[in-house]
Structures are given as structure tokens and as C-alpha cells.
């Protein structure tokens, strides 16, 4: 059974038809071809499918696609700014080596993004707490935590310079 769905995805209004049993993850990957969001466990344990829904981190594997109606969804593809410029969080992950196999990275980046929207200068404890729902089986957590600390300071200094920022890349 199909139904119409209208929502905002990465800053643009999307109107599409979805299967009523599709999860948001199915819509993103199979329906819209946005394969940055990964399916790890499919049960809300690993966080590889983390996206932002109205600025809050959620598991796209535990949300029905139709529940996105009238909401604002942001995926890892939506963090990139004009001209393909990576967001502060993405640059920090690159600079700190916060990725090994890379499968958990989009989810880690989205959880980090959600945290920094809420708290621009999080303690290490808060960073670790925010990553409770994101598993890295290469166990590269140390670099990931360092990347988020760096991202926080990058974002703060960019905000301080009054830069145009990451247009379309925020929350």
C-alpha cells in the first residue's frame, strides 16, 4: 500500500510516494538514493542510521517513513555546504582520523552534529554520553571523541569570525 508524503529533507521540500510499511531508512536509501545513511543492526542498537529529525538525533531504522510528514530531516548528505565544503564536524573527523572502516561515521557525525546544536562546548563526558547509541566496531572511539572536541572549537571560532557559516549545513 502506498501513501503520499511531504517533508523537508536537507533543506528542500520533498513530495513523494512511499510504501506505508517503509522505515525512514528505506525511504532515504532505496526511495531517494541517499545511501550515506547506513543500516547496521536495524534494531536501534548501532546508530549507523542516525539522522536528525527537527534537529534531534533519531534512528532512521526505528521510524516509519510516513512519520516524517511535515518534519525536517537532515542526513549526512545535507551537512555539506556550498561548493562541496565539508561541515566543521566532517572536517574535524577527517583531521583527527575519526574514521577507520567508515561504516559508523555518518551516524557518528550526525550524533555529533545534534550534540553541538544543543551544547556548543560539550565536556568529554557529554560527548561520550551522546555517542552511547553509536557503535564503532573498529573501536576508534578515542579519535572520534577528539574529532568532536575539535569540531566544537572549529564551530565556535567560525561563529566568532561571523563567517557565513555552513549554509544549509546547520541542524
Amino acid at each position: 500500500m502506498k501513501a503520499r508524503l511531504r517533508f523537508r529533507l536537507n533543506g528542500k521540500v520533498v513530495e513523494t510516494e512511499v510504501e506505508t510499511h517503509w522505515r525512514l531508512l528505506d525511504l532515504l536509501r532505496d526511495g531517494l538514493g541517499l545511501t550515506g545513511t547506513k543500516e547496521g543492526c536495524g534494531a536501534g542498537e548501532c546508530g549507523a542510521c542516525t539522522v536528525l529529525c527537527d534537529g534531534e538525533a533519531v534512528n532512521a531504522c526505528l521510524m516509519l517513513a510516513l512519520e516524517a510528514e511535515d518534519r525536517e530531516i537532515r542526513t549526512v548528505e545535507g551537512l555539506v555546504g556550498p561548493g562541496g565544503r565539508l561541515s566543521a564536524v566532517q572536517r574535524a573527523f577527517v583531521e583527527e582520523g575519526g574514521a577507520q572502516c567508515g561504516f559508523c561515521s555518518p551516524g557518528m557525525v550526525m550524533s555529533a552534529q545534534a550534540l553541538l546544536l544543543e551544547d556548543p562546548d560539550p565536556s568529554e563526558e557529554r560527548i561520550r554520553e551522546a555517542l552511547t547509541g553509536n557503535l564503532c566496531r573498529c573501536t576508534g572511539y578515542k579519535q572520534i571523541v577528539a574529532a568532536i572536541r575539535r569540531a566544537a572549537s572549529l564551530r565556535r571560532s567560525e561563529a566568532g569570525e561571523g563567517e557565513r557559516g555552513e549554509a544549509g549545513g546547520e541542524g
Binding site: 536501534g44 529529525c53 534531534e56 547509541g133
Partner: protein
């Protein structure tokens, strides 16, 4: 009937009408349990989402104007928590931060940020897992649940809501609308302790304690344990043993390392024995019944020590 998300009503009246027409529909709140339980079969599961029902969300001080309220919530003023309120929203409530430390500790132990951002308190209770972390602290707070149907609303003590693993007292046409929690006393203390394998894991065992400090004694003591029986359990016999006890009665001493210890001849040691008889844990993939009994004993020892330390 075809599965998937069939309905997204905005009012409870619509919910009742739709359920009358399509009783096969399962109610979907946050979906963090349901989507896992029906993983790969969502196409065969007809669902009715409650996410848009605004009247199910929110926290407010209120006086219950419902049948039975005078007996079940005798204090009058309460916190009314809408069943559809997310765990993250509850953790952001200053009222809960200030007045209900055990509830707050339990809610923050549930799942991950991603889960808490969508999971609801009503879903946690209606899923009726014996390990539901929301249940023990609400049981010790003497919470009551507000159940709604087309016929009207009724109140039920939370303890009577749980009937077995995955089973509640909700009738086929009923829905959990809210949880009512009496406001805390000035000298109220509450503690929640749990053990999981890792932080995000389901509890192996948990214990909630609430009491008033009175004149250095445990008064109005309530105890409840999770994951050690077919439902979350109030430990009434253990409560009765410890009611009115002073620190001296309890026989709590500090070991050289600073860890509190119940002396064998003290009241607390007897209460720990009673608690391990009062629970009914099973062996499963998470832990043995033996280990769960040990955990509840140690939790009780630590929780009582914490009350006297506060």
C-alpha cells in the same frame, strides 16, 4: 488487512473511532520497541500512530478530577505526565529534575539519545517489559495511570496495570492517556540503581527506593524492583521490615574502603534476605536468577546507605 502505517489521527476521539473500525491495528507511540519486535514484518502489521495526538503529550501540575482519585492520589496536587511525552522531553522538565531524582536517573538510563528522543513514557509502560526502567521509580512514587476509552476515563494504581510480561490491564478499546505522580514531600529522598552489561543494555536487575527522612528514620518507605519477576514488583514485605528504622537499627557500617556494609545482626541484613525471597527472578541470556538475587540484595544495601548519607 494490509499492514504498515494506516492512520495518523490528531485527536483521541479519532483514535477511538478508528480502533472501533479496525481493531486489528496496533498502537504505535515512539516505535522503538514495536519496530524491533516487528522488524521485517511491518508490511503485515497494521499500525495506528499516536505521534500526532497533541493531547497525549506534555507535563503539568494538576489535580485529578477522576473517579477514585481521592483514594488513589490522596495528596491532591500531582504531576500529570501525558503518555505520549518522550523520555527526552521528560528529562528536560525542571519539575522532574528537582523533585524526582530516581525517576530521572531511570529515564536517563533507557536506551541511547536517539531512542530517548522518540520513545515515550507510555510506550515504556505499555510494552510491559519486566525490565522497563520507568516502572520501579513510578511504583515507589505511588503513581496512578489514567486510562481513556470512548466510555470515559478511569484511574488505576500503576501496580495493577502490569499483568505479566508484555501484558497490561488495558481493555481492547482502552488507551493509556497519562501517568499521575503525587508531588514529592519536602524531605523526600529517592534512589534508583540498575545494572546492565553495558550502558545501553536492558537492565539485568534494578531497584527503586523512596522514603521521607523524617527524624533520621526511614518513613513512608517504598521499594520496587525490575527484571526480577514477571512484572516490575513492589517489595511490600521488605518495606514493612524497614519502615521506621534508624541508621542504628539498620546496622550499617563502613568497610575500610568506604563501602557501606549491612552487619549480619542488623535489620538491613534481614531486609536483604526478605527482598531476595520476595522477588521471583529467572535464569535467562542476560543473567542467572542467582546473580539477580545478589544484585537486589546489594542494591538495597547501597540504596539505604545512600538515603542515610544524603
Amino acid at each position: 488487512m494490509e499492514g504498515g502505517l494506516r492512520h495518523r489521527p490528531k485527536t483521541l476521539d479519532e483514535v477511538f473511532r478508528l480502533r472501533e473500525r479496525e481493531p486489528e491495528c496496533r498502537l504505535l507511540a515512539g516505535g522503538t520497541d514495536l519496530c524491533v519486535q516487528h522488524r521485517g514484518r511491518l508490511g503485515e502489521t497494521p499500525l495506528l500512530s499516536l505521534r500526532r495526538v497533541a493531547e497525549l503529550r506534555g507535563v503539568a501540575r494538576s489535580r485529578p478530577d477522576l473517579p477514585g482519585a481521592a483514594d488513589l492520589l490522596p495528596g491532591g496536587e500531582c504531576l500529570r505526565i501525558g503518555a505520549g511525552t518522550t523520555l527526552s522531553a521528560l528529562l528536560n522538565e525542571t519539575e522532574i529534575e528537582r523533585g524526582f531524582p530516581a525517576l530521572r536517573a531511570a529515564l536517563s538510563a533507557i536506551g541511547s539519545r536517539q531512542i530517548r528522543n522518540v520513545a515515550t513514557i507510555g510506550g515504556n509502560l505499555c510494552n510491559a517489559s519486566p525490565a522497563a526502567d520507568g516502572a520501579p521509580p513510578l511504583l515507589v512514587l505511588d503513581a496512578a495511570v489514567e486510562i481513556a476509552s470512548r466510555e470515559g476515563r478511569r484511574l488505576l494504581p500503576l501496580e495493577e496495570f502490569f499483568r505479566g510480561p508484555g501484558r497490561t490491564s488495558l481493555g481492547a478499546e482502552e488507551i493509556l492517556a497519562a501517568v499521575w505522580v503525587p508531588l514529592p514531600f519536602e524531605d523526600e529522598v529517592s534512589v534508583f540503581l540498575r545494572k546492565g552489561r553495558v550502558k545501553m543494555d536492558i537492565a539485568i536487575a534494578s531497584l527503586a527506593l523512596r522514603c521521607r527522612r523524617g527524624a533520621g528514620t526511614l518513613s513512608g518507605l517504598r521499594l520496587a524492583a525490575g527484571a526480577v519477576g514477571p512484572t516490575p514488583l513492589r517489595l511490600r514485605r521488605t518495606e514493612a521490615l524497614l519502615e521506621g528504622a534508624s541508621l542504628k537499627d539498620c546496622g550499617l557500617v563502613r568497610e575500610p574502603g568506604g563501602r557501606p556494609r549491612a552487619r549480619e545482626d542488623g535489620l538491613l541484613a534481614r531486609a536483604m534476605d526478605e527482598a531476595s525471597k520476595e522477588i521471583a527472578p529467572i535464569d535467562d541470556l542476560r543473567a542467572s536468577a542467582w546473580y539477580r538475587r545478589r544484585l537486589v540484595r546489594v542494591f538495597l544495601e547501597r540504596a539505604v546507605a545512600e538515603v542515610f548519607a544524603q
